[in-house]
């Protein structure tokens, strides 16, 4: 961290500002903690698939919790919609809910809940949170079926309505909601966690307004938005001007069409940036479509991740960033397009964004990660006629390499920030048993710095039902950078007792007791020339049985020697010769 000193003092009272900022960020995190601690589904309390923010009286996001990138960037649009539509009809104790609006939506399981905050009769701010619910109705459980061809198949669509009016629940809304989902108790339990978070936010905002007075609070809010805008512009100004284009693709659309191209052109002009998704594929016939709100969210998030300093995310972020996405495309689908499996697309959008940004900032941007998680749900009806939905994934491998370090093994992708669901937690359902979860040797994206290894997941079914397994990166592998090789491809197989058979890239399949499904997740791309990799690092991975000696020799030009005492060691001369044969030009540069 170096002191980057602004050219001129920008705050009338910088200390008060910093104290205020830190309190607001703390509050947004506090709201997230409440969801984490009180929720019931593993999607929330293990996988942390939720987000929180606090806003000013005009609905502008002031501070966001440390949570899901794909949600966070949609809060500004969600709030401006709420304020536009309801500004004249807000009362203390009102709570809004929606999961599907023309201006903002994720996929239907992601439920937005927001609350206006009052001190006395004065509107002083808002709280908002978004959380992924286990089931939302629709033709398959979980609301993420890639085969859905219209949003009407995916579950209940809730437009922006009041769930509470002046502290009183709207029983009609609740009744409709409960009647339309498979697990109403679970939905209500997780919703109550969201409400508790908003309640905590209200107390926190009231305290701050009390401390500063509402006028001063509002002035500080203005300063906070300007501050973020200023930081964003400084970061953008440090990126060389130019137009950076990149294209990647999804293997298929899940219903036999494809591949689906994603294309971005990023134009940097001074301290402003345009992210143009023109050229991306048309709206798909399956559920992999993205709402424009998702596209914005990913555009902001991927950009923010390349910044040198931590930037406090808020409404000010968007002022310097323009996002263009033509209508009726995969990145800006129409209002009835299915979107349940948009989780497959957003991570490819991250890959596409980073591929473009890497051209501008090669030293700061990693090669492609594993391509996003495999989304895995097991559902059906048990002997008693009760519906069950078992979240089994997300399954991941990790990150691509970047200059100076290997790709993170088994770390959540940039587009989200979840934890896995423990094997023992999934097995408590008695419906599946994991037989393997671990690295697959010789699968890393080869490079001077290597990408993450593939991870293989084998599950044996103990009851019958439908397995929904949404994957990608079987055809187009995660790209490497600066001479690094691509990561390895994914694969899905099932053994029904007569040997493994291939499964489609994305599928919902009936499984019987005893079936074994195996998924090998794609791995991350490498960075830089593999012949420049530190030989000692190659040796360590051979010793750890992550890499074969053959691969060490063939891909990295590292020759190992058994040594007199049986301890494997690098054969320096052999390696030099081997690398020379393979065409090494220089030695690995450590930045």
């Amino acid at each position: 961290m170096s002191d980057i000193v602004a050219p001129n003092p920008v705050f009338a009272d910088p200390v008060t500002f910093e104290v205020y900022r830190s309190q607001l960020v703390g509050l947004a995190d506090e709201m997230g903690l409440i969801i984490l601690r009180t929720s019931h589904s593993p999607i929330l309390n293990h996988a942390l698939d939720f987000s929180t923010a606090v806003c000013d009286a005009s609905g502008r996001v002031l501070a966001q919790g440390n949570s899901m990138m794909v949600h966070i960037g949609t809060f500004p649009d969600a709030m401006s919609m709420i304020v536009d539509r309801w500004r004249d009809d807000l009362a203390p104790g009102d709570v809004f809910i929606f999961n599907d609006e023309d201006r903002v939506s994720q996929h239907l399981p992601d439920m937005y809940v927001a609350q206006p905050y009052f001190v006395g009769r004065e509107l002083v701010g808002f709280g908002i949170c978004c959380a992924h619910h286990v089931d939302i109705g629709g033709h398959t459980a979980g609301g993420m079926d890639v085969l859905a061809q219209s949003i009407f198949a995916e579950g209940i669509r809730i437009p922006l309505v009041k769930l509470y009016r002046a502290g009183k629940a709207d029983e009609a809304v609740l009744a409709i909601l409960k009647r339309n989902v498979r697990l109403p108790e679970l939905l209500m339990g997780d919703l109550s966690g969201q409400l508790a978070a908003l309640h905590a936010g209200e107390g926190g905002i009231a305290k701050l307004v009390e401390r500063y007075g509402s006028d001063h609070f509002a002035r500080l809010a203005e300063e906070l938005l300007d501050y973020t805008e200023r930081m964003v512009r400084r970061e953008i100004a440090a990126i060389p001007d130019g137009r950076y284009e990149f294209a990647d693709q999804l293997d298929d659309d899940g219903v036999g069409g494809g591949p689906v191209p994603l294309r971005v052109a990023i134009t940097v002009r001074g301290d402003a940036i345009e992210v143009d998704w023109t050229g991306s594929g048309p709206q798909a016939a399956s559920a992999i479509n993205c709402h424009i709100a998702n596209t914005r969210s990913i555009s902001y998030g991927a950009l923010q991740a390349t910044f040198r300093e931590q930037v406090a995310g808020n409404d000010g972020f968007r002022r310097a960033v323009d996002v263009v996405a033509p209508p009726n495309t995969i990145v800006n689908a129409g209002r009835t397009a299915a979107r349940g499996a948009r989780g497959l697309t957003i991570y490819r959008m991250v890959d596409t964004m980073l591929g473009a940004l890497a051209q501008a900032m090669p030293e700061r941007v990693p090669a492609a990660a594993d391509g996003g998680p495999a989304l895995v749900r097991f559902f059906g009806v048990d002997r008693e006629g009760e519906a069950f939905v078992l979240p089994v994934g997300p399954w991941i491998s990790g990150w691509g390499a970047r200059m100076g370090s290997d790709g993170l093994d088994h770390a959540s992708p940039l587009g989200a920030n979840f934890a896995n669901i423990p094997v023992e937690e999934v097995e408590r359902s008695r419906r599946v048993r994991f037989e393997h979860r671990g690295f697959v040797p010789d699968t890393e994206g080869v490079g001077c710095w290597r990408g993450c290894y593939s991870v293989r997941f084998d599950i044996r079914f103990l009851s019958e039902g439908t397995l929904q397994l949404l994957t990608q990166r079987r055809v187009v592998r995660p790209y490497g950078l600066a001479g690094g090789h691509p990561g390895s491809a994914s694969s899905n197989t099932i053994d029904r007792g007569s040997g493994p058979e291939q499964l489609p890239i994305s599928a919902a399949i009936s499984v019987s007791v005893g079936d074994l499904v195996s998924h090998v997740h794609s791995s991350g791309g490498g960075w830089g020339n593999p012949l420049e990799r530190e030989p000692e690092a190659v040796l360590q991975e051979v010793l750890d049985e992550k890499m074969s000696r053959t691969r060490a020799c063939e891909q990295y030009g590292v020759v190992l020697d058994d040594g007199l005492d049986g301890h494997l060691a690098v054969d320096r001369i052999g390696t030099l010769e081997r690398r020379s044969d393979l065409g090494a030009a220089s030695v690995c540069q450590t930045p």
Partner: protein, 713 residues
């Protein structure tokens, strides 16, 4: 290498004669406090001597014993808080460790959970895995979720693995099988087979430490234990030999993370319980203070050179967390920033922590806003005013410029401070912010206070507790300089600084109690009065008979029963006490459910369906009453009367208290200059190891126990 000192003197025979000594070893200083049977005290502060911490301990002990005219054989009990286990993890200097696990799950430890501490940080790196893959070995066995063995462990295979690991010079083995929480016996059987196959190698079974589901956290807990066990064993062995040389044959007790003492023998077997040993001692001191003064709600606020810590104590009990992370940025409980370190699922005092201390660096970010930390000048180069080459301004520099610190009397005068250097370091930041050096120094102080305020909120408002009802107790070298400002921000009206705040953790050790506990996982078990009551009775008699066999007197043992409770599907639990007798009869169970519902309502603002209440674990904890009859107040009172640096009478220093009060001529006192009659601030109270700043809006007095009491209007 058995625990020789433990066997040479039976526990419980140490009640008469001799002195009781507490030794708190921190990263920088080793603090020693002694009390004799008359209540007279002695103390010493010496530099720590990593990695051979026992050298500093012995040096300090020698000084304090000779100062008190006692020989080594005059020591009747020794209490110890230490950071050896934590340091081994943080510095990656543990033992050569192996992991034995279920076939198909060799990589559980390295995969982790996948969460990253910060959503947008692409430069983050995972902590190094403590057991490299080459030492992670699979056994062909499986326990199903129902507890079936399909197949069971094959003894021949286990022995073969043990031999192989021994031949590879492994010093310590962790064992964690998938679903072993359902069949602990199977995992223990494997551990036994390994012990038999490789004598002399430590073997840790995960279920002996953590009986709950969640394979990664349980594995990690076992691995951390295995990783530090030989290190802690060797340290305690060296210490006991040195003590022997000094003629000290007293039983040695070590502070555990949950705030109780362990006999050194047990501590050596389960060192993962010692990770928060050092910080826990201070909290135990504050807990004793709260009990003795009858304070319902207290926030313990501990701040030293690099970190600030807070813990809430309610009705005489400190909050605990079932899990936390060591390594990564900071030791901490589970939260949104998790994923950066090594998780440990061991009950520990819930100590929230941030990287803010005297060395925290003050800087201006790219958006023009002032920030404090997380970067620290550390011990080297240290704050600019130390004159050791530091050029970036720190909180210590700010405090010096504000007039809070005495340029010549810090650390008993051993560390002169240079205000010119502090001002030079602060000037660029002042220019960037358009403020005077003085205002910018005050700004650094205020921003640090905001960070500490967030820390206090994490242990109060985030648990549905109102900080305004609490008394703030500040200790550690740096805490007392911030106590008034932090109390003001939280609208706390009463704060307290105990005597010798820099030695307070050692004082806490003197009044800590030996503590043992049994935890049984009760996953999905039916909630009936009979099963629960029977289980708890069984656990209690097991733990008590164990303690009596160890030589403790039965009438000094007190047991507490509690349950970890939650609603179906939740991961976080709330602890609910089960007072004796409540389990007898039907209303008993309802009473426990009522208490859980009330606690959930209080913490999170709502209740749910009673039918979905679950009790994943039950716990019996036995305390052995401490024999420091003077209590904490007695010890610390005497520390104060014999205490150090009084201000020269009539000394006055200019000190700055922000725009609203400005620069004020401020009286500089020693604690002994204050009385029961409250004196209005501003005041600066100087002690050997700490400086207490009383702001102009506060009043200070001394209570019967020599505590400095601060009242805010």
């Amino acid at each position: 290498m058995s625990a020789a000192t433990e066997t040479s003197l039976p526990a419980g025979s140490d009640t008469v004669g001799g002195v009781r000594v507490a030794v708190d070893v921190g990263g920088t200083f080793t603090d020693i406090v002694l009390i004799d049977e008359t209540g007279a005290v002695g103390k010493a502060k010496v530099l720590s001597t990593p990695p051979d911490f026992e050298q500093g301990v012995i040096r300090g002990l020698r000084a304090v014993l000779s100062g008190h005219g006692v020989g080594g054989d005059g020591v009747q009990t020794l209490f110890h808080g230490m950071t050896v286990a934590t340091n081994a993890v943080l510095e990656g200097r543990g033992s050569a460790t192996a992991l034995v696990t279920t076939r198909g799950f060799r990589d559980t430890l390295e995969l982790g959970r996948g969460r990253r501490p910060d959503t947008y940080d692409m430069n983050w790196l995972k902590v190094n895995v403590l057991v490299p893959r080459r030492f992670r070995v699979e056994v062909n066995q499986r326990i199903t979720a129902d507890g079936d063995l399909a197949p069971p462990v094959d003894p021949a295979e286990a022995s073969e693995i043990g031999r192989r690991l021994r031949d590879a010079d492994v010093e310590s083995i962790a064992v964690c099988l998938i679903n072993s929480y359902v069949r602990p016996d199977e995992e223990r059987r494997l551990a036994e087979l390994l012990r038999a196959a490789c004598p002399g190698v430590w073997v840790t079974a995960s279920v002996d430490l953590d009986p709950e589901p969640g394979e990664y956290e349980r594995t990690s807990t076992a691995v951390v234990n295995a990783y530090v066990a030989p290190i802690v064993d060797s340290y305690l062995g060296r210490l006991e030999r040195e003590l022997d040389g000094l003629g000290v044959h007293a039983p040695l007790y070590v502070m555990r993370s949950s705030g109780g003492l362990l006999r050194s023998g047990t501590a050596r077997a389960e060192p993962v319980r010692l990770i928060e040993s050092g910080p826990a001692a201070g909290v135990v001191g504050v807990r004793a203070l709260a009990r003795e003064l009858g304070l319902d709600s207290v926030i313990a606020f501990d701040m030293g050179g690099t970190t600030a810590k807070a813990t809430l104590i309610e009705n005489g009990e400190a909050f605990e967390t079932p899990q936390y992370e060591v390594g990564g940025a900071m030791n901490s409980g589970p939260g949104l920033g998790s994923g950066g370190g090594y998780p440990i699922r061991i009950a520990s005092l819930d100590i929230a922590e941030i990287g803010a201390g005297g060395g925290s660096i003050f800087w201006v970010d790219a958006g023009g806003a002032p920030r404090v930390g997380p970067e620290s000048a550390g011990a080297s180069p240290g704050p600019a005013c130390y004159g050791a080459g530091g050029t970036r301004p720190t909180l210590s520099d700010a405090k010096l410029l504000l007039g809070y610190l005495n340029p010549t009397a810090i650390a008993g005068g051993s560390q002169p401070l240079d205000a010119d250097l502090a001002e030079q370091a602060m000037a660029p930041v002042a220019d960037a912010l358009g403020l005077s050096v003085l205002d910018v120094a005050y700004g650094a102080y205020e921003i640090a206070v905001a960070g500490m305020t967030r820390l206090m909120r994490a242990v109060t408002t985030e648990r549905g507790r109102d900080p305004r009802e609490a008394t703030l107790v500040a200790f550690g070298g740096a805490g007392p300089a911030y106590v008034c400002a932090v109390a003001r921000q939280l609208e706390i009206r009463r704060a307290l600084v105990p005597p010798a705040p820099g030695l307070f953790s050692a004082v806490g050790l003197l009044v800590a109690e030996p503590q043992h506990e049994l935890v049984r996982a009760h996953v999905d078990g039916a909630l009936t009065v009979d099963t629960l009551s029977g289980l708890l009775d069984e656990m209690e008699s097991e733990i008590v008979s164990g303690l009596v066999a160890d030589g403790y007197e039965a009438d000094r043992i007190r047991c507490e029963r509690s349950a970890e409770m939650r609603y179906e599907g939740q991961t976080g639990t709330l602890r609910v006490g089960i007072p004796p007798g409540t389990m007898l009869g039907e209303p008993g169970l309802d009473g426990v459910l009522d208490r859980f519902e009330a606690e959930h309502e209080r913490t999170y603002g709502h209740q749910k369906d009673r039918g979905s209440i679950r009790m994943p674990a039950i716990r019996v904890r036995a305390h052995v009453r401490n024999e420091t009859d003077a209590g904490l107040l007695g010890v610390s009172h005497n520390l104060a009367t014999d205490s150090g640096v009084a201000g020269s009478p009539g000394a006055v220093r200019d000190a700055y208290f922000g725009p609203s009060f400005g620069m004020l001529a401020t009286r500089v006192l020693g604690r002994s200059d204050l009385t029961a009659l409250p004196v209005a601030g501003p005041l600066i109270v100087e002690e050997m190891d700490s400086t207490i700043v009383i702001t102009p809006d506060a009043r200070a007095s001394i209570d019967d126990h020599n505590d400095l009491v601060i009242e805010l209007a």
